[in-house]
Amino acid sequence: MEKAKISTRQLLILVLIFETVSAIISGFGAEAKQDAWITAIIGMLGGICLFLIYHRLSLFYPDLPITEYAKKILGPVVGRFIALLYVVYFLFNGSLVIREFASMAVSFVFIQTPFLVIIALMLVAVMYVIGKGIEVLSRTAELFFAVLFLVTTTGLTLILTSGNVDLQNLRPVLEEGWLTVLKQSIPGTVVFPFGEVIVFLMLFPYVNEKRKMKKTVITGLLISGCFIGFIMMVNVSVLGVDLFTRTQYPLLTTSQLIEGRAFLERLDALFLVTAIVGGFFRISIYLYATIIGTATLFGIPSYRKLIIPLSMVMFICSIAIASNYVEFIYTGLRVVRFYVQIPMLFIIPLILLLVGWIQEKKKLNSAH
């Protein structure tokens, strides 16, 4: 743990960048076809429910990250194990994000560049910024949020005025019934991206106004859910259901369809800017959580010593995670979603919450 303070505004921005960018760039809810936007809304609602658990959990020990209070709640042995699980989880998730990002960059810009180089470069930047501390990271996010906002507004304006939007593509709503949509949303969109807000449990101790924390994160989840839903609506209405379900990066395809009336011929560059900035902060948050988690787990006073080794681990992990893109998609979507995300995002926090509750009750009883 370092001595730092981040404001609720910065927390909101971090949540927004963290939740939104990755989801709008990679395909999202494609199996639900034209109802992808509904899965976004349901995912958001589920994410908010999960966050309420996390928030209640963080109230037990507001000044500690989850890796610390797991020890206090479940005892040193089990607690340590749980903390270790979380550290590995953050590391693993971070590696997934990097790999996804690198695959994207390689597939449409740097076709001849090995993705090792992309990953390495990205990690160098991430290491530099994390070395400056969480305060600097969140301030940088605050500034880059303005850039993202500008880019997104420009892009959306161009897309919406391009004449490609056909709202008929969104019909019929709920063609395949609620059940299909719900199946896609739970656990699919609930865990990615909304449930991943659990990583902010590592940042909560730094927030300066703890009272506003709950409101802030829920606002962030609401905004990002609605925004993702909106982007999915735009994607479907521009691309049509068929193309939307087939394309790897729907938003990229959407923006490539814009004809050059404006000074910008195609919006690939804007898309790339969004992807890099968003990917950067997502990776940074995961790596930071990993580092802080490791530092608290093993009682290492200066987290900065861990930056280089853990970045190396993340680097190797992101390469070793899958040997090709298809395997990566399989790992990322199927395996992780069911065997990793559900226990980490739902079961363990719930157990922690219950045990914590019982302990609190006991304490209150013995005090009387």
């Binding site: 301030r139 195609r266 890099i276």
Partner: protein
């Protein structure tokens, strides 16, 4: 002790003879003291020692010592020599004990008189342009304020020009500079603290702030950092700037230097602290945040809507001067698809004709421009036109016709150069100049990807900077309410908001500093 002094002045190599020990003047003999001064100053021709007798009839042997050129000769002649030589002293006043007091109280009609008992005080006073009076039989010296001499008269500032606003700029004299600030803020709470820095040069430094507005913690911190400076010489405020910065390893300036008294006054009113250094017209203002380098005091003199637009324009110019060539390189090398097709065709046909890649071209042109600029700064004015003619040839049509660079590159480089020159504060324009090359390299190797990662690192670096504890990117991040935020640059009558940048009482509370 005198012997000791003599030996020191002779053995120039081994001992630090440039220091004057703080020892009392123990000899009462005029001749001995004068001899010691002659020895210490190496019989320098500009140290004038004039011996005379006090009183019109056979009086006391005395001498005045002053440094020619930094004193006001008229004052010495009229109000020191003349009165001392013509004074009628009664026999009781002649006793040595009373004499200094009598001279102070009744004889010399000059404001600043001070009695000195130590050698180092004596030399300090002498070299400040004061006249030293030594009297035979007394080991007490008297310094008389006669500073003067030729200094540059107040003139328009060389940098920091403005369309509207006062025309005067700071000069090299500390006293004049202080007076220029005082004339603008007529308030007893405008405090000045003096110190002398530089073990050889004994340069005078003034720290100016408005008591009650300036944050006391920052004032103390500034004083603490100044006192820690151990340098032989301080010839310009730049020496001090480097010693008191929060962080040295950064291309960005964290201290603002200005030549304009109205800028200093405006900043003092905002709670900033000014550091004045004798011998330079550049006054340092601390703390200085990034935003401050883009807002000039003149903004407040114009209509606010124009000012907001201009401030915005300046930031845009700064960004262009930083990323201009790299965007061109990235777009032409990696992201041709984002350029309209017709433009791409014409660009490619231009690039066909040139032998180099966009990066090499840009590097070539940028380096040529930097050379021209450096030449423009140092060259004698009489050959200025030659450089501009040659410059127009090198960065211009001739270079394109020679097939060295493409025409588009000329436009990009010129735009970048103009943007960089239009940035109001030189020190921040320089940082963009440096970072431009870093960004060019990253754009040439990894296109927008490399560029954006570099930009993220640059901005993270800027966010990590602090100027005397104030975050460098404030008020943008962390968000703060200040009256000079470009996005809320209000008309002057609405600016009752006092900057929260540094916590302190409002302007209305100046005076009762107890609540600070």
């Amino acid at each position: 002790m005198e012997k000791d002094g003599n030996e020191r002045s002779k053995s120039t190599v081994s001992s630090p003879h440039w220091t004057v020990p703080s020892v009392p003047i123990d000899s009462t003999k005029l001749g001995v003291n004068l001899e010691q001064i002659r020895q210490k100053t190496g019989n320098s021709g500009d140290i004038i020692i004039r011996e005379f007798t006090i009183g019109s009839d056979e009086g006391l042997q005395a001498a005045i010592i002053y440094v020619d050129g930094i004193v006001n000769n008229t004052t010495i002649n009229q109000f020191v020599m003349e009165v001392l030589m013509n004074v009628m002293l009664s026999s009781t006043q002649r006793t040595l004990n009373d004499l200094i007091q009598v001279i102070t109280e009744k004889v010399v009609p000059i404001g600043g008189l001070k009695s000195l008992l130590k050698w180092d005080e004596l030399y300090d006073a002498l070299l400040l342009g004061q006249t030293i009076l030594l009297i035979d039989g007394s080991n007490e010296a008297l310094s008389i304020a006669t500073s003067g001499g030729e200094v540059r008269s107040i003139d328009e500032p060389g940098t920091d020009n403005s369309i509207r606003g006062p025309r005067e700029g700071f000069v090299e004299s500390l006293a004049t500079n202080i007076s220029m600030v005082r004339r603008r803020i007529r308030n007893p709470n405008l405090w000045l603290e003096s110190m002398t820095l530089g073990q050889v040069t004994h340069t005078r430094i003034g720290i100016m702030y408005i008591n009650g507005i300036a944050d006391e913690a920052i004032v103390d911190e500034a004083k603490r950092r100044l006192q820690k400076i151990k340098l032989d010489g301080i010839l310009e405020s730049g020496y001090i700037e480097k010693m008191i910065e929060d962080q040295n390893f950064t291309p960005f300036p964290t201290i603002l230097a200005t030549e304009r008294p109205d800028t200093v006054a405006a900043n003092l009113l905002e709670g900033k602290i000014a550091i004045l250094v004798d011998g330079t017209p550049f006054i340092l203002i601390i703390p200085a945040v990034f935003n401050q380098f883009f807002q000039i005091t003149e903004d407040s003199y114009h209509r606010y809507d124009i000012s907001i637009a201009l401030r915005f324009l300046r930031i845009v110019m700064f960004i262009i001067s930083m990323i201009g060539p790299s965007v061109y390189i990235a777009a032409t090398t990696f992201h041709q698809e984002m350029i309209p097709t017709q433009l791409v065709i014409s660009l490619v046909s231009q690039l066909e004709a040139t032998p180099f890649t966009a990066f090499v071209e840009a590097l070539l042109m940028e380096v040529i421009f930097e050379i021209l600029r450096e030449a423009g700064v140092r060259m004698p004015k009489s050959i200025g036109s030659a450089v501009s003619i040659v410059g127009a040839l090198v960065i211009g049509q001739a270079a394109v016709q020679a097939g060295l660079v493409s025409a588009a590159m000329v436009i990009v480089v010129s735009l970048t150069a103009i943007s960089s020159l239009a940035t109001p504060v030189f020190s921040i324009a320089v940082s963009a100049r440096l970072l431009r090359f870093v960004l060019m390299i990253s754009a040439a190797t990894f296109g927008f990807f490399g560029m954006i990662l570099t930009l993220i690192m640059i901005i993270a670096h800027m966010c990590s900077l602090r100027s005397f504890g104030v975050p460098y990117m404030a008020p943008y991040t962390p968000v703060m309410h200040v009256k000079n935020n470009p996005f809320q640059a209000l008309p002057i009558w609405m600016r009752h908001l006092v900057p929260k940048l540094m916590k302190r009482p409002t302007t209305e509370q100046v005076g009762d500093q107890d609540n600070a």
